[in-house]
């Protein structure tokens, strides 16, 4: 098991290098916004552009910039380790900003994940157990509704209705846990639910489908015949087998989670990584984009690793392949 984990960790590093290389290619080799010009102000003279280029380190050939970037990333730069450079827009170090924003995005993602798992899976189980009942139909209708709703629309509608019209939730923005727990919770509830709904719906449907299939297996019939109470049959035997594809799905969803979180962060003004990355892409603040992409890639790869380890734990057959 340990060799497997170690090999996967090496792989995380490779993924990081490949992804940053691709980012470099997109944003440097075919730029739509030349950062030196963007941050040289209105009507810059060629001298000013050249000076800005020099200060941003953009006057080296691209391959040299990439190698420098990799070196800083692994060995640190003048701002510390990992060396994430300085932002063209704010002209200050990226690392502390990224760290605080990563925490916020993580809070959003983890909270949402907990919400959708605790909503989606029980609903899926209940629907599977009571097939074709009113509960099943209603649950599936709810699932289908949220599966067809784009996140930005849901977010804007929810914000307008629940905050502006009905004054049920506090507004946008982020209050840190340390400042005031109640306020923090209040501000996070709506973003959590908005982000979670799409996934909850999907997971409800998936759990339902998988559980129905699993419950039709022979060994379930055996368990019942042995006299086990029904809930034990469902939870201990049925659910365990049908959860493995859910785990796989979860791993794949982490990637899209960071993407959807971007939209949620923008709508609810949560100062997370995603919101920062979007602003930076449009502004041409490439070091910030690189930093966010790197951190996100590592985070996703690590999460996938954890998921795969869990999968191997749940399904012994995988361990030995």
């Amino acid at each position: 098991m340990w060799r497997y984990i170690l090999r996967r960790l090496m792989w995380v590093i490779v993924v990081l290098l490949v992804i940053t290389l691709i980012t470099f290619v997109i944003f440097f080799v075919m730029p739509s916004v030349d950062p030196a010009v963007a941050f040289a102000g209105r009507q810059p003279t060629p001298e000013i552009v050249a000076e800005v280029k020099r200060q941003f380190g953009l006057d080296h050939p691209v391959w040299e910039q990439y190698l420098l970037f990799v070196r800083h990333l692994f060995l640190g730069d003048r701002y510390g380790w990992p060396g994430l450079g300085f932002s063209f827009a704010s002209r200050s170090a990226i690392k502390p900003e990224l760290f605080s924003r990563f925490l916020i995005t993580a809070q959003l993602a983890v909270g949402a994940a907990l919400v959708w798992l605790s909503i989606g899976i029980p609903i899926g189980v209940a629907s599977a157990v009571r097939r074709r009942s009113l509960l099943d139909r209603a649950a599936m209708a709810f699932a289908l509704f949220f599966v067809s709703m784009p996140v930005f629309l849901l977010g804007l509608l929810a914000l307008w209705l629940l905050w502006f019209k009905w004054h049920l939730t506090p507004g946008t923005g982020y209050i840190s846990v340390g400042t005031n727990f109640g306020s923090w919770l209040g501000h996070m509830i709506l973003p959590w639910f908005v982000l979670a709904m799409l996934f909850a719906a999907f997971y409800a449907r998936m759990t339902r489908g998988n559980l129905i299939e699993t419950m039709a297996q022979d060994y379930i019939r055996t368990a019942r015949v042995k006299g086990l109470p029904e809930w034990k049959v469902i939870l201990k035997h049925g659910l365990r087998a049908s959860l493995t594809p859910v785990v796989t799905m979860f791993g794949m969803d982490l990637g899209s989670l960071f993407g959807t979180a971007v939209v949620t962060e923008s709508v609810f003004n949560l100062q997370g990584m995603g919101q920062w990355a979007i602003i930076s892409v449009f502004a041409g603040d490439i070091p910030t984009v690189l930093a966010v992409v790197s951190v996100t890639a590592v985070a996703i790869a690590l999460c996938n690793l954890i998921v795969d380890v869990l999968y191997a734990y749940l399904d012994p057959r995988v361990r030995y392949s």
Binding site: W11, V14, V15, V18, I19, I22, T23, I26, F27, M30, P31, S32, V33, L144, F145, V147, S148, P150, V151, F152, L153, L156, L157, W160, R205, G209, I212, E213, A216, T248, M252, G255, S256, F258, G259, T260, V262, V263, G274, A277, I278, V281, F282, V289, V292, V293, T296, A297, I300, A301, N304, S321
Partner: protein, 326 residues
């Protein structure tokens, strides 16, 4: 010395062909079809999809009837005088006008074409790539498998929205687009982006299926009969993998329609001259326009809901029909 076992033909005398009705075994296809047909709701979904496709194909005919197109501006009649806010439904414009005075209903119908085109082509291409790579990876194993799996890992770790914005910006600024004009800003670029980011899921699923099927007896049997790997993949594995592929595809199509909506919301979708639901939803969201012009949200929103619903119902029905409850 053992005697070869006698075949059944050799032990029993030839029988006369039976008279009366022949009870023939049904082929898997026929079984599947009858099971699917029994699921009323799934059939309803399929019928709805068929109707939508017909509507999409027939969209240009609308132009002949109402004598206006989806890009014609009616600012003088469909926008309020001073602020230029859209006016609501009336006799001619069933779902009112949009921010520039275009017919919302007509644009929704045309948007059906765009959304279906994007979803079907993008899903089709992504599925093709995903199935081929997934099968090869699962079947071959070893280095090939590792290589493809690692590629899948990388693409899944890419920050989708950032890259979509980046690629789209890049390809929009040069006059001829990217890849020597293959990726023009607009429909082809959106399809390209969707294909790029969605093929790995299909590959993973197919690979998983193939991995579990690989050890089954019928594959072993084909091997021992001397079949080439490509023949095994095509004739033995593919039919058994079709089920999850079809189901997954039917569920991914609506997801890709939504993907296009996200891209439009971020400003990297199709240009205005090509109506798309994603763009219409994004426009209805900007400036909280839906709080005033509910029709700009309701029309494309309702169509999107119905389309997604239909595809999901058909997907569920397919899954139920292909692997029935015993």
């Amino acid at each position: 010395m053992t005697q070869p076992a006698l075949t059944e033909e050799q032990t029993e005398p030839r029988l006369q062909p039976p008279s009366g009705p022949v009870i023939a075994a049904r082929s898997p296809w026929q079984l599947f079809r009858s099971r699917f047909m029994q699921d009323r709701i799934a059939v309803a979904g399929a019928v709805t999809i068929a109707l939508l496709v017909v509507l999409a194909l027939a969209a240009p005919l609308f132009k002949l009837v109402v004598h206006r197109g989806p890009n014609d501006l009616f600012g003088s009649t469909m926008l309020t005088k001073d602020l230029g806010l859209p006016k609501g439904p009336n006799g001619r414009f069933w779902f009112g006008g949009d921010t520039v005075g275009r017919d919302v209903f007509l644009r929704t119908i045309y948007g059906l074409r765009t959304s279906l085109t994007v979803a079907i082509i993008a899903t089709g291409l992504a599925s093709l790539i995903g199935v081929v790579l997934g099968m090869i990876a699962g079947f071959r194993g070893g280095v090939v498998d590792t290589g493809i799996s690692r590629l899948v890992d990388i693409v899944l770790s890419l920050p989708i929205l950032l890259f979509a914005i980046g690629i789209s910006s890049v390809c929009s600024t040069s006059p001829n687009g990217c890849l020597h004009g293959l990726l023009q800003p607009g429909l082809s670029l959106v399809i390209g982006i969707i294909v790029l980011f969605t093929w790995p899921q299909m590959a993973r699923i197919v690979r998983g299926q193939v991995l579990s099927l690989r050890e089954r007896e019928f594959v072993e049997a084909a091997y021992s009969l001397g079949a080439r790997p490509s023949r095994i993949m095509l004739r033995e594995l593919l039919p058994n993998v079709v089920a999850p592929i079809v189901v997954y595809t039917s569920l991914i199509i609506p997801a890709n329609i939504l993907f296009e909506a996200y891209l439009s919301f971020l400003g990297v979708g199709v240009p205005q001259s090509t109506p798309s639901w994603g763009r219409m939803l994004a426009d209805a969201s900007s400036g909280q326009l839906f709080t005033y012009a509910w029709w700009m949200l309701a029309c494309p929103g309702a169509f999107l809901l119905v389309t997604t619903l239909s595809f999901n119902l058909v997907g569920d029905g397919l899954r139920d029909a292909l692997s029935p409850e015993r």
